[in-house]
């Protein structure tokens, strides 16, 4: 599904966020990326989601080498992913429903079909009663779940989450992790980056531990 082969990412200025990283995540797998902040987790996710390209080495997503795809082809690769950003990146100028509608609008799903899928996604994360609410009025946990609803509405085959439990208390964090596990159970590949391993139940899931840009 996702394969990193000797990937190095160097940013302008010479900072190397990732150094010679190689791993493979199979379809339907649940994988965790751990490490302290600044260890390169976010960079790894950006590379895995075809948001950035590697400096050297190759990133293969569903058999496609991201480094060799033309700029205009990248959006189509990105549509394989449901992304949950560390800062949520919700749009505060529209309500909950319209936030979830965005990914569908991008792939051209609108009208009644869109409505069905948006409500299903909101129902899944327990936000259906709040579809008309403004995101700013939601609690931190609810905003997190809204971000998840937006990520799953276009039924991606891969979910990528950057610190989804970051600012949540323990109970809430467990709920969120359970939510991700439920997606994993229906066959979605789930990759979660987290700095603390609290919510991680070790049941044979792959854990990629990053330290200063190197896989431990």
């Amino acid at each position: 599904m996702i394969k990193f082969d000797g990937v190095t990412k160097r940013y302008p200025g010479g900072f190397e966020a990732l150094k010679n990283v190689s791993f493979e995540i199979a379809q339907g797998e649940l994988a965790f990326i751990t490490g302290h902040s600044g260890a390169g987790k976010s960079t790894l996710l950006k590379l895995a989601a075809a948001i950035e390209r590697p400096t050297t080495g190759s990133v293969i997503i569903k058999g496609q080498n991201v480094g060799k795809i033309r700029q205009s082809g990248l959006p189509y690769v990105r549509r394989n992913f449901g992304l949950i950003f560390q800062d949520h990146k919700l749009l505060y100028d529209r309500n909950v429903y319209d936030n979830v509608a965005l990914p569908l609008s991008i792939v051209g799903v609108t009208g009644r079909e869109a409505g069905k899928r948006i409500r299903a996604a909101l129902d899944k994360v327990g936000l259906l009663p709040r579809e008309k609410a403004a995101p700013i009025t939601l609690s931190g946990g609810e905003q997190q779940r809204l971000a998840i609803a937006r990520a799953i509405v276009s039924r991606p085959s891969i979910l990528l989450a950057d610190e989804p439990t970051g600012n949540l208390d323990e109970n809430y964090a467990r709920d969120i992790i359970e939510l991700f596990k439920s997606f994993h159970q229906v066959g979605v590949t789930v990759i979660i980056a987290t700095h603390d391993a609290r919510g991680i139940a070790r049941q044979g899931e792959q854990i990629l531990s990053l330290q200063h840009g190197v896989l431990a």
Partner: protein, 304 residues
């Protein structure tokens, strides 16, 4: 495929309309600014067009007089007559012999008093060209002046030529004004779209991250530009119409004094379509330039 394309455009269009409705006053002002800008060239064009039509109604044809040399023989006149008949640039012509001219002159009492005893007048041909365009007439005049035994040629209706030149100048003025103000329109719309892009920067960034193509991001802004331009075009049309209405009241009074029936006419269907279509197109162009620039900036930021 086409269905999908149309549908996505339709949705973007509806979205833009909804957004425009949120700020009706600002958008109306915007349309008024573009309208005022465009009404200048449109008004000038209309003025020139009216003058041209008025000039077209005055059917004074240019006339070329050929004066032969005094010692031209009857044979030479005949030969010349034949040459003129063969010339395709001539609609018709008639011969005025020196005797006819002399008699006509003597009938005119003021000239008869000059005390001339001998006929000083040459034979002459009066020629009406087929093509009344100034250049064509000039060419014909030059051609005729080179014929044998032709002493002198005289072109009447010089003022028609002057009017033509003036109208040509006004056409050039319309073209220059249109280009300048068209450029202004592109800049105005471009700037507005740029501000819109800034307020929607987050949406654009998120959309790009989750798989939106550049085309998807551009689409609503292009529609907005098109609509701004079109609305501005409509406004310009309206402004010109109102100005014309006000003018026509005075023109009618003036025409009555000359006991003529004359009113300035409004832009024709074709000119109106060009105005609206051109305005919409320029608005679209302004939006395209703005959105491409902003996208390039966003990409540069994302690369950092």
């Amino acid at each position: 495929m086409i269905y999908h394309w149309l549908r996505s455009h339709w949705h973007a269009f509806i979205l833009v309309l909804k957004k425009l409705r949120h700020a009706p006053v600002a958008n109306l002002l915007m349309a008024a600014v573009i309208g005022a800008t465009l009404s200048l060239p449109a008004g000038l064009y209309l003025l020139a067009d009216n003058i041209r039509q008025a000039a077209g109604d005055i059917t004074i044809e240019p006339q070329i007089s050929l004066f032969l040399s005094l010692n031209a023989t009857d044979g030479a006149v005949k030969a010349l007559d034949q040459r003129l008949k063969e010339n395709h640039g001539i609609k018709d012509f008639n011969f005025v012999s020196k005797e006819t001219a002399w008699q006509e002159m003597q009938r005119n009492s003021t000239v008869a008093d000059t005390g001339l005893e001998k006929n000083p007048l040459p034979d002459a041909f009066v020629i009406h060209p087929k093509d009344t365009e100034p250049q064509a007439v000039d060419k014909l005049q030059k051609e005729l002046s080179e014929l044998p035994n032709v002493e002198h040629t005289l072109l009447d209706a010089e003022w028609v030529k002057r009017l033509y030149v003036l109208l040509q100048m006004s056409t050039k003025a319309v073209v220059i004004l249109t280009s300048l103000l068209g450029f202004a329109l592109v800049a105005i719309v471009g700037n507005t779209i740029r501000l819109q892009i800034l307020t929607q920067r987050e949406e654009i960034e998120v959309s790009r991250l989750i798989g939106a193509t550049d085309r998807y991001i551009r689409r609503p802004f292009l529609h907005a530009g098109l609509l701004h331009g079109f609305a501005g075009g409509l406004m310009a049309w309206l402004f010109v119409y109102i100005a014309l209405y006000i003018f026509n009241a005075s023109v009618q009074d003036l025409a009555l004094l000359y006991s003529a029936d004359f009113l300035l006419h409004m832009l024709g269907g074709q000119a109106s379509l060009i105005l609206l279509g051109g305005a919409a197109g320029l608005g679209w162009l302004g939006a395209l330039l703005a959105v491409n620039r902003s996208l390039a900036e966003l990409k540069a930021v994302a690369k950092r």
